[in-house]
């Protein structure tokens, strides 16, 4: 599981049947200082997140288990909305601070 910031949304009209209605969002993974780390990935959202939100997400096979239909081709899913995260005694910048 990792930390990320939701940076965008993605809509695909034509897609795998089991993914109908599942929101797809672009997320930017973060490091221990809350700074961008690595490439932006597309993730399914299992919660009601949106651009600007601080979230935690899961990768790999387990990501599909967070979706309504669990046998779907998904390898990243947003599973929690982060209100606060502390790292090295410092509060990481949260969405509402911006």
């Amino acid at each position: 599981m990792h930390l990320a910031r939701v940076v965008g949304r993605l809509v695909a009209t034509q897609q795998y049947e089991g993914l109908r209605g599942v929101p797809l969002q672009l997320i930017q993974p973060l490091d221990d200082e809350g700074a961008d780390h690595g490439e932006v990935v597309v993730a399914c959202s299992a919660i009601s997140s949106g651009p600007g939100d601080f979230v935690h997400w899961i990768d790999g096979r387990e990501a599909a288990l967070a979706c309504p239909e669990t046998f779907v081709p998904v390898d990243a899913a947003i599973i929690g909305w982060v209100e606060q995260a502390w790292s090295n005694g410092r509060r990481l910048a949260m969405a509402e601070d911006a």
Partner: protein
Amino acid sequence: MFLAQVVGTVVAPVQIPVLDGRTLLLVQPVDPQGKKQGRVRVGIDHAQAGVGDRVLVMDEGNSARQMLDAKEGAVKTVVVAVVDYIERDGELAYDHRDERSTP
């Protein structure tokens, strides 16, 4: 499994039901000497670990589901142990025993 340093905590009031009531820790993977290795992770605490502890983290879904008794849960990263000491090539690479026994 990998070694990590607990660097912080994560508070997520909205999340998938399997995570309700679980403590989430921010863990930074490290090598035996304590040098950072890769990106920080969010782990579910299963060892009463806290900030500053050197821990052992399990990152595999099936084991995580077994441990948390969550048959279909989207869980993967679990803090499973607090490390006392690490010996490598006959030498202590990390020793936390003295600090723990201090009253």
